[in-house]
Point group: C2
Chain length 417, copies 2
């Protein structure tokens, strides 16, 4: 007998038929003797509709848009948007009852699930487990809405997009659950994007760190915050499909994985743009002068490469920002051209970041070398490189994306038979 | 300066454009110096959609449908259905903010609005006014969801269809408001149904008692319970249109109306069916024997006429039930034919109940006589008569509905110039 938190995403509760199917899964787990608590997202599309209505109501009048007014408006948005999960919560509890299970919904304010008061992007501070533990002890299936909380002052909050995964992990931690199963529309985490790599394989297990790196470079299976929280709290996560019965992918601690592959996955992100500043003065403080104003403007800088100075006085500085920030970053830099003293600014949207990820890198040598060799054999030029302990990323021209990802997938022995 | 509760029905908040228009009305009242609390229904159609989803989830399994399981299911229905008003509550508060007003939503559990635990048809027991009075004192516009409450045990409830009017009246009583304005899709209470009587006039004022009689005979402007509560609590109600700026109809105490017309309105109900039992034994206890089993089966009997016995031993007994109950009533009576000892049972769906209503009847003589004369002049046969202190109803063949209503409207001098 295990204690499991089962979380159903928007596509898994898209309509009443899907809700009944999800309830069936819960029943099977109960029949097998497991204790189950359920976390639900809003029906697919519901949150967008609710947010659209909020948008249609319009903005505050000019002059009144101070912090207090903006906060009051955000609070009401949350009142509206939080209804999406409340609907599925009640429907799911009823669907479970219809299968003969004892079940009830527990809304955020009823437990409570206490969050801070950052409306629209709140963070869960604590979940009161007393009522839920009593329910589980009585053989009931409690159903809890994801994505929301209540402030200490008693106002509803939402956690921001994707927050339902985080709710589920927080609940699993609070209940000391044996596992947190995230039901979604993919059946697990793959070695690479199956739309590009036909030979991509579903991973049975992946470590939290790898999952975080996969998420940060564009493999959007789990929300980053939920993985961070799971790692911190030691919650065993499982990504599973609502539409099939396969076992999914377990996201676990490194020491649960005995045979560590050198590389577990190849990911890519098209969301990058490259800026090169040519002939920047090669002296201390220049990097700070360039990146300080960008940081002040909330422009995140990722890969940074500074060439060796050719003439001993100037150098070229290359870095990436997310595409949506490119124009803003260029404007900020151009406004400081004189002060920064660069000769030219070259921007390039046609780049992609390709990464290989694996905790095995820590104990295997030659990982980077194999990557460079594989890309060189395909004639792909590397524009920049950045590494972390378990990840190597390279910036290449966007047109080579598929070629590079497939070549790396083969080079690290990830191809399915 | 007055304190007003403004209640907007489903058609008045049907979409974000209507919500903004309703917010405009609130702003005009605030600009005129009034204190305003707002009560909102769900967007037109929203409650039906939510109820449909609950229906699609299905029923409880056979054998488990005991009171406890049924109650648990009803609780979850309320969790789902209550979201309709929560959405409009948040949107309305935002719309008011967008007009530069200070506003916030107060959900049932936040005040609280305490109800009993009859889920799906709960009754409000009390509304905690402290926070709302403080808000009004600070110039804020509180927005409260109609149609719902929270039990002392902390579960959401709904009041049953039309409950939003009742919520508004209860709130107006709690806040000792000067008036409760019910915004709807008609611009007031008419002397008769304008679809039938072209010369029907909008009434400036009507008494609670008249309004109750109008509602009970088919003029569905206000929910009966809300009028009863307004009468009991002395809340001045106003029925107004969301789509025009006219003054509407005030529903007030009798002593606020100086010139009382003999008859204020002519109403009709097609929702009646007639049953005649012929040659029933004319002895004590027969009426109880007939109507007891019907009452036990929750069949409401309305007009009852017992003819004078012709032969001294048997009589004919005629009465009406609502059409939906007719088949059931007939089955109950036929099953007891021997015991009740009637010779024949005649059922007739082609009847209509036409009523004239007015508190002026108390002080005017000849009201009934004028009614019978007007109908006789048109050759309309009266099948049964029933009266209350302020109402006379007759049962006639359905085909005469329009003719009878128009004739009575003229006969009592109600026609517009």
């Amino acid at each position: 007998m295990a204690r499991i938190v089962m979380k159903f995403g928007g596509t898994s509760v898209a309509d009443t038929g899907h809700i009944r199917a999800a309830a069936d899964r819960v029943k099977r787990a109960r029949d097998a003797g497991d204790e189950v608590a359920v976390v639900v997202s809003a029906m697919a599309g519901a949150t967008n509709q609710l947010a659209a209505w909020v948008g249609e109501i319009g903005v505050l009048p000019a002059g009144s848009y101070d912090d207090i007014a903006a906060d009051a408006a955000d609070r009401e948005s949350d009142v509206v948007v939080a209804t999406g999960e409340q609907v599925t919560c009640g429907l799911m509890a009823r669907a479970l009852q219809a299968l003969g299970l004892k079940s009830r919904s527990w809304l955020a304010w009823q437990l409570p699930i206490v969050s801070d008061d950052a409306h629209g992007k709140a963070r869960i501070e604590s979940i009161e487990a007393k009522d839920l533990l009593a329910a589980l002890a009585h053989g009931e299936v409690p159903v809890v809405p994801g994505f929301q909380g209540v402030t200490r002052g008693g106002r509803l909050t939402t956690l921001g997009r994707g927050g339902s995964d985080t709710s589920a992990v927080a609940l699993a931690a609070t209940l000391r659950a044996d596992r947190c199963d995230i039901y979604t529309d993919v059946d697990g985490v793959y070695t690479s994007d199956p739309r590009i790599v036909a030979k991509a394989r579903k991973l049975d297990k992946i470590t939290y760190e790898e999952m975080l790196e996969m998420a940060s470079v564009g493999a959007k299976v789990l929300q980053t915050r939920s993985v961070e929280l799971a790692m911190k709290q030691g919650v065993r996560l499982q990504v599973r499909s609502s539409f099939s019965d396969g076992p999914g992918t377990l996201v676990v601690d490194e020491d649960e994985i005995v045979e560590k592959a050198m590389v577990s996955g190849v990911a890519y992100s098209r969301d990058e743009a490259k800026i090169t500043l040519s002939r920047v003065a090669d002296r201390p403080g220049v990097a700070a002068a360039v990146f300080g104003p960008l940081a002040d403007a909330n422009v995140n800088v990722d890969v940074i490469v500074q060439n060796v100075s050719a003439d001993g006085r100037t150098t070229d500085l290359t870095f990436t920002v997310v595409k949506a920030d490119l124009d803003r970053a260029v404007a900020i830099l151009e406004a400081r051209r004189k002060e920064l003293g660069f000769a030219g600014l070259i921007q390039d949207r046609n780049v992609v970041k390709v990464s290989v990820i694996g905790v095995g890198m820590r104990s295997h040598a030659g990982v980077a070398q194999r990557m460079f060799k594989a890309l060189a054999e395909k004639g792909i030029n590397i524009q920049a490189i950045t590494t972390s302990e378990i990840k190597i990323s390279v910036l290449i021209a966007e047109e080579y994306t598929e070629l590079a990802v497939r070549a790396l997938h083969s080079a690290y022995g990830l191809d399915a038979d």
